[in-house]
Symmetry: C2
């Protein structure tokens, strides 16, 4: 596995591969790799000649009171996992190389960035869109792989790719779950043993909402109420940021079901913020 830290060298390496007719699959990560990331890497490997994984804990997507400082970092284990998957290139730039003094250009996907998680994480999606644009311009991927767990992020990046005429194929892959249904997330390590058990309520709530819809509830507002009731019954949930049925394209709360319906939840368990979603189709 080639280990590249300098953006310029990463770009030259990618250009050489592209010039030789190779496709590049790209999996951008913030490290602390779990089975969700590995599933993206396997998919990228199966569809491309070269696979590039980036590890970069991006400061501009964290709010001032968020967990940038304590975000889990375990480079040794990450590199072991990447070598096992036979990833070709690990791109791991320094913060100073990505955001040198005087940095001042930001991409905002208006509207979509202010809904759902955007309400609670001001500026988060501007940070995400900006770093992803930078990484795309450096890595020059043929295809980039994102997990459905961060569905809003994936939709915003898809919008950015289309709006700014970027030449990347975005692929959204299924959420990978623990045996009890909890969505894989680097932040799960924050949970105490009790919180980890309580966290299963999130996916149970999504499943229950899905079953309620399929068994004939006709009003999304009733589903949302049912979800809130289930989540509130779990005493370790300290905050419900949102829980309900949303438009998969606009993230607006639905008043009536559509062909595709985004069932999504964001809660805090103790001080750990967790999100999850499923899409229910008719």
């Amino acid at each position: 596995m080639e280990n590249i830290r300098i953006p310029r060298i990463m770009r030259e390496t990618s250009k050489r591969h592209l010039h030789n007719g190779r496709t590049i699959g790209f999996v951008p990560t913030m490290g602390a790799l779990h089975e969700g990331h590995i599933s993206l890497i396997k998919r990228a490997k199966s569809e491309n000649d070269i696979v590039v994984v980036s590890i970069f804990v991006n400061p501009t997507q964290f709010g001032p009171n968020e967990d940038f400082d304590k975000y889990p970092r375990d480079l040794e284990r990450d590199m072991e996992k990447l070598r096992k998957e036979e990833v070709h290139i690990l791109f791991m730039p320094d913060v100073g190389a990505m955001y040198p003094e005087g940095f001042s250009s930001y991409i905002t996907v208006r509207g979509l960035s202010d809904k759902l998680c955007g309400v609670f994480r001001s500026g988060h999606f501007t940070g995400v869109a900006t770093i992803v644009c930078k990484l795309f311009n450096i890595v020059k991927p043929t295809a980039a792989y994102f997990g459905q767990k961060d569905f809003q992020q994936a939709v915003i990046i898809k919008r950015m790719i289309e709006d700014l005429n970027m030449d990347v194929n975005l692929i959204i892959c299924p959420t990978v779950r623990e045996n009890d249904g909890l969505a894989m997330s680097s932040r799960n390590v924050y949970l105490s043993k009790e919180e980890r058990i309580a966290a299963t309520v999130i996916f149970r709530t999504l499943l229950s909402a899905s079953q309620a819809i399929k068994s004939g509830i006709t009003n999304p507002v009733d589903v949302s109420k049912h979800m809130h009731d289930m989540l509130m019954a779990e005493p370790l949930i300290s905050e419900i940021q949102y829980a309900g049925v949303y438009d998969v394209n606009t993230f607006d709360e639905l008043n009536e079901f559509k062909k595709q319906n985004l069932i999504a939840v964001a809660v805090k368990i103790g001080s750990t913020r967790l999100i999850d979603n499923i899409i229910v189709e008719f």
Copy 2:
């Protein structure tokens, strides 16, 4: 001259040329071509295998009370000039192809965009940065050519290229002037005969400021005052938006001279807004 209207076809065409080892020089314009544009095209031709000129009057860089609707358009004459210069490709997309329904991604270069012209044209440089990013991603130029007359625009684009790791070489070319010194601009056609004569005060003011500096004025504030006095003496000037000595990198007004000093003016003559600048070096 190949005439391309569809972004996807433009991009495929550029990719083919790049794949064959050709360099692409790009001159983005809003049409109404004048000698300033032609100088950029000649420079691009001299330095690249393929020259692409775009003509696109970009709605997102005009304010609601600005001249988008009456901006001069003369496609027949423009195409004649481009053919004469043996431009290889004219890229001329429709507004609907560049900003389809649901478009919502914008690039802002913070700080720089709020100075000088940005004070008077809210949102202008976000529109400029966004369209230039889109055009770069479609045309995939090796080098792009901009005129020094729009110095703030060129610096903002340079900043965006660096910040977002774009793979484009930005080249700023000297301002081309009429015989009496007025900077070439598509908006000069708005001027009445009297206004056209009055407009020469802009370049005379820049030259006079330059001479004042070189002859030993030690305080930029005195230069600014001298410039305002000269401009105010011209009765057809209806508004001085800014006139003074600025930092070439930050656009902040200078309190003492530096190695490079941006002498810049924005005024309205009647209802026509004109800008110009020179750089004075020590």
